[in-house]
């Protein structure tokens, strides 16, 4: 057309022809889209419809079968992404289509864009329509459910679904729907890329499947090999650097593993952006290869030999690594067999016959040799000693340290270090980042100690996970994760805990936790506490009059406005001002916890430990109406002495079956007595321990020379040849085998187990044995007559 313009400018991308092409593609694929939409409809929308119906009609929904069918049909429709991609560009693999499409008056770029997007829309429009409908229905159902709950009669469908069914259902469904959409984009883009390399339908199908499996497989295998050989690199962390957005399979795995339950909205969004970016990269690559495609290439099985070579390299080396990781020479033969079969079958199919077999064999040999070679080298040199590397403190700008206290693992009270308990599903506060030179130096020392401890053939009884992230002055970031660091190594870090940096971090972490409370919203008591705080002693809760009561919810209050800010401020101030001795100190200084109950998903609250030096906190609590804390008295344990060979601190101790004695003595003993226990089963302290106990430790100590034994025990040490453990103040000490005989002499085997369940499992014989030896001591501590009372008591308890 002469009106088109006389310049030699290339036709624009948004020309009407492109939209025309997209529209034509959609018209052509009408049937496929309808089928897809139906398949999706059978999934979420149908299931939600059924639920709504059953709510309205109050019938029991038998949704199991529908959700299974729905999952299958939706899954099938999702897998059709590659079908849509393949159908959008038939001229790449069907010779009869080339003339028609290549002679159309569009540029290569325009053709790519209109075909790429027509296929993409064919794939995604039915999904979007159906999922939007499904989400709307879910919202409607959840609204309906909520409104019916209050009027629900026991046994009705609404109650059957559970009170929180629908409010809990929508967010994960939304997350999954969003994730699925972006993964669809990725899948489609990869399929298109594979198609640009192939010239025949068979290759298309094969290679799409292959590529989708090989990318994650290869990444996983290489990561596995490297992380296995670098102590301190965790497979999950490293593999999830690349895996989650390079392939649909990897993305799905990552989503369900990490994000589905525990991911925050921010994490989701960042990940989705990465997936989108990866999809764009694949699409651009596809475009670049597409441009090079010539009409005469259509029909050839493999258009670019290079692609096939890369595929084979990835596949075979991945398989080789897999077999080699079993570390068994017997695996060599299966490895050769499997790889040969895969390789030669694929090669013969690609060559459509047995041509060029020698060249193929040569390539195969090369791949195998290089794979075996690199694997062996990585293994032998431990990835060139990468695992042994500890940066020098001078080169470190900051180090982020993620360990118990700050770590992601749930922590129980007795093993606390920094004292910050984090949630089970991810920490609520960022790990502290240390800039102070002395702190960094301590961390590197700690790091070296971890590496050195590998050499020793010890197995810590308790090991804790640690993650260190160094940021060097050059901008490099080095991360190491050690899942099972012996607990005594953490003592190196103890001086760090009281530095200003750490205190600030700790204070901020507490503040972050506290700020998750929502004053003004009602505190919920049933079935579990929600949105409130309570005060807890060592184990159990304080009641106003000082009595320890398990189920005393008397502190539940609707939190007033501004409470959380004040409390956070107070706690922060107290943490900064806390004297070192108090932090390290004996249980005298740490006998209370502010239990933060946030939501009802957790049965256990988050705990902020406080002691009597936390004056601001106490004042704040009292100001807002919590009972006078001083009445409880932070447990005065002045009678106790530090017994740990480290001589640094003691924790409060679980009291096993102290209740029994409480009753017997007619006393209520406040939790917090020291206990020394002998046991030959370190794993089952809580229920089956044989315990010697006494309130006044000194007595026992002098009596029984436990000090000597303690000197010859190792903290947190477990081994097969250790027969006796001393459990003291929250820490267990393994008695060295040489002293087993001595320990045995002190040991009084009696089973007096019991926990605060109200039920005591004991046998009269054991109590008798215990009391035979310790009756004097029990009377001494609890008052005379208690020992007798015990004997009688438990007899009654059993036979009543």
């Amino acid at each position: 057309m002469s009106t088109q313009g006389n310049t030699a400018k290339a036709s624009p991308i948004f020309s009407p022809k492109v939209f025309h092409g997209i529209k034509q593609g959609l018209l052509r694929n009408k049937k496929m889209m309808i089928v897809s939409a139906v398949l999706y409809f059978v999934g979420l929308p149908l299931n939600m419809l059924i639920l709504i119906m059953s709510l309205l009609l109050d019938i029991q929904p038998d949704i199991g079968i529908y959700s299974v069918i729905g999952a299958l049909t939706s899954g099938a429709a999702l897998l059709c992404g590659s079908v849509a991609a393949v159908l959008s560009m038939p001229y790449l693999y069907k010779k009869t289509e080339t003339d028609m499409h290549f002679s159309l008056p569009v540029t290569t770029t325009q053709r790519f864009i209109s075909d790429f997007f027509s296929g993409l829309l064919t794939y995604t429009l039915p999904y979007i329509a159906s999922t939007a409908l499904g989400l709307l229905l879910t919202l409607a159902a959840s609204g309906l459910h909520r409104s019916m709950i209050s009027a629900a009669v026991p046994g009705s469908t609404a109650l059957e679904l559970g009170e929180t069914f629908f409010t809990d259902i929508f967010p994960p469904i939304l997350k999954t729907a969003a994730a699925a959409f972006f993964i669809m984009l990725l899948y489609y883009a990869i399929s298109t890329l594979v198609m640009t390399f192939c010239g025949a339908m068979l290759e298309n199908v094969f290679n799409i499947v292959l590529v989708n499996c090989i990318i994650p497989g290869f990444i996983a295998m290489v990561t596995h090999t490297v992380t296995e050989n670098i102590y301190g690199l965790s497979f999950d962390d490293t593999v999830y650097k690349l895996l989650p957005f390079t392939s649909p399979l990897g993305a799905v795995i990552y989503f369900f593993d990490e994000l589905f339950e525990t991911g925050s909205a921010g994490e989701m969004v960042i990940w989705l952006i990465k997936v989108l970016a990866a999809a764009c990269v694949y699409a651009v690559l596809a475009y670049l290869v597409y441009r090079k495609r010539r009409a005469e290439d259509t029909g050839k099985p493999v258009v670019y030999e290079f692609f096939y070579t890369i595929l084979m390299v990835l596949l075979i080396s991945c398989l080789c690594f897999l077999f080699m990781s079993f570390d068994d020479t017997e695996m060599l033969i299966p490895m050769v067999i499997v790889t040969v079969i895969f390789y030669f079958v694929l090669t013969v199919i690609k060559n459509r016959g047995f041509k060029k077999l020698w060249r193929a064999a040569a390539l195969y040999a090369a791949i195998v040799v290089v794979s075996i070679g690199s694997f062996t080298v990585i293994e032998a040199t431990e990835a060139f000693g990468a695992g042994k590397y500890v940066p020098s403190p001078d080169s470190v700008r900051s180090v982020e340290i993620d360990y118990i206290g700050f770590g992601r693992e749930g922590m129980d009270l007795t093993s606390g270090r920094n004292g910050i308990v984090t949630s089970e599903y991810g920490s609520y506060a960022a790990s502290p980042v240390l800039y102070d030179k002395a702190n960094i130096e301590a961390v590197t020392r700690f790091h070296k100690a971890i590496l050195d401890s590998r050499k020793e053939d010890i197995r810590a009884q308790t090991g804790y996970p640690v993650t260190l992230t160094y940021k060097t002055t050059l901008g490099r970031s080095i991360t190491r994760t050690y899942p099972d660091v012996p607990a005594d190594l953490f003592d190196i870090l103890l001086p760090v805990d009281v530095t200003e940096e750490m205190r600030t971090a700790r204070g901020n972490a507490y503040a972050a936790l506290i700020s998750r409370l929502k004053p003004g919203r009602k505190a919920v008591q049933q079935p579990v506490l929600e949105n409130c705080i309570t005060l807890m002693g060592e184990y159990g809760q304080f009641s106003p009059d000082g009595k320890s009561e398990r189920d005393a919810y008397t502190f539940i209050k609707d939190l007033p406005e501004g409470f959380e800010d004040s409390l956070a401020e107070a706690v922060k101030a107290d943490v900064m001002a806390e004297p070192e001795e108090a932090y390290y100190g004996t249980q005298r200084h740490r006998t209370a916890f502010i239990a933060i109950w946030l939501n009802h998903y957790r049965q256990n609250p988050y705990m902020i430990p406080i002691n009597e030096t936390y004056t601001n906190t106490v004042a704040c609590l009292e100001k807002y109406g919590f009972e006078d804390l001083s009445r409880f008295g932070f447990q005065d344990q002045s009678k106790t002495a530090a017994l740990s060979p480290n001589d640094l601190f003691l924790h409060t101790v679980w009291m096993y079956s102290v209740k029994m004695y409480e009753k017997a003595a007619g006393k209520d003993v406040i939790n917090g007595s020291n206990v020394v226990g002998y046991t030959d089963d370190s794993q089952n302290m809580s229920t089956d321990s044989d315990i010697l106990l006494g309130v006044d430790l000194k007595l026992f100590l002098s009596h029984y020379d436990i000090t000597d034994l303690l000197k010859n025990s190792r903290p947190d040490y477990a081994a097969d040849d250790v027969d006796y453990y001393i459990y003291l103040n929250g820490r267990s000490y393994g008695v060295l085998p040489e002293y087993s005989k001595v320990a045995g002499e002190k040991y009084v085997g009696c089973y007096v187990g019991g926990i605060f369940s109200g039920k005591y499992a004991r046998t009269p014989y054991e109590i008798k044995r215990f009391l035979d030896v310790y009756a004097e001591d029990v009377d001494l501590v609890y008052g005379s007559g208690v020992a007798d009372g015990l004997q009688k008591q438990q007899y009654e308890d059993i036979y009543s």
Partner: protein
């Protein structure tokens, strides 16, 4: 005007077109003749922009056609396949091409469809082969491009359909000066429909001429001469063939009657008979003159 200058096209290193030069002026009906594998389809695909030349240039009205959407609006290529249109109904075919060719005319399409009595709403894969080909031809004509390329255009058409299609082409040629390029391995067909013809053999353009001038300019001569003459006596580039049967010489010579008379006059022929030749005969002897055996170019004697 379609121009090919020094165009070469290789497939896996083998040239399907070898250094071809060609000029197809606007308004002609150009025929491409050659056996299968001679390079006709390759040539058409180069002109339509489907293929990219490995050497040389393919220009339409002075602009290169490869990856040039604007220039391609002037060209419509009809190949010898019908499968790719199977899923379309005529109506859908119309809508498909309408969006790509700016000069597409609904009226022309509808009119032509009516002429061949094709139903608009039936899928074309339910048509007979002839009807399928007609569908594509009327689509191509409805696009009203300047150039129409047809690969084995009349293949599959029965005589009636052939006439109808030819008439459609006539109208297009006369109404808007359509330039057609038609490939065929059938000389009779080319003779009927085209006014200029190029002969391809093994990727080379062996021959490229106005058909009418071909016919008028080459004659069969039967003559008898007083002396005993042999081939060597008649040295001229215009002599394509010399044969002697007894005393009668059979000569195939280029030139019109007067030219030939003039040339032979010095030899004082005792009798001289100058006969025009059929196109087939012309082609056979032209090939011989170029050094090709006739059956190299035909296939089982079909073409010529």
């Amino acid at each position: 005007m379609i121009t090919l200058s020094g165009v070469t096209k290789l497939f896996d290193g083998v040239p399907a077109l070898d250094n071809a030069d060609l000029e197809i002026p606007t308004g002609v009906s150009y025929g491409l003749l050659g056996s299968n594998g001679a390079g006709k389809s390759t040539l058409l695909r180069l002109i339509s922009g489907t293929y990219r030349s490995d050497g040389g240039k393919v220009l339409i009205d002075g602009e290169e056609i490869f990856d040039n959407a604007r220039v391609r609006e002037k060209v419509f290529f009809i190949n010898d396949e019908t499968v790719q249109f199977g899923r379309f109904t005529l109506k859908e075919l119309k809508n498909f091409y309408k969006g790509y060719y700016p000069k597409f005319s609904d009226e022309v399409f509808d009119e032509l469809a009516k002429k061949v009595q094709l139903p608009m709403d039936k899928r074309t894969d339910k048509f007979s082969k002839g009807m399928k080909r007609q569908s594509i031809v009327i689509t191509g004509l409805a696009c009203r491009t300047d150039y129409l390329l047809l690969d084995e255009a009349f293949d599959g058409l029965d005589p009636t359909m052939r006439i109808i299609v030819k008439r459609m082409l006539v109208d297009a040629i006369l109404d808007r000066g359509l330039t057609t390029v038609i490939s065929s391995h059938n000389l009779k067909e080319i003779n009927e429909v085209c006014d200029t013809v190029a002969l391809l053999h093994k990727g080379r353009i062996v021959f490229n001429r106005d058909l009418d001038s071909v016919k008028g300019n080459i004659h069969k001569v039967q003559a008898a001469f007083p002396e005993n003459r042999s081939k060597e006596d008649f040295v001229s580039p215009n002599i394509l063939h010399f044969d002697k049967n007894g005393s009668v010489c059979h000569i195939i010579m280029r030139g019109d009657e007067n030219m030939i008379k003039e040339y032979l006059a010095p030899y004082s022929p005792m009798f001289l008979d100058i006969i025009p030749m059929t196109l087939e005969e012309i082609f056979i002897y032209e090939m011989e003159g170029l050094g090709y055996k006739a059956d190299e170019i035909t296939e089982g004697g079909e073409a010529l």
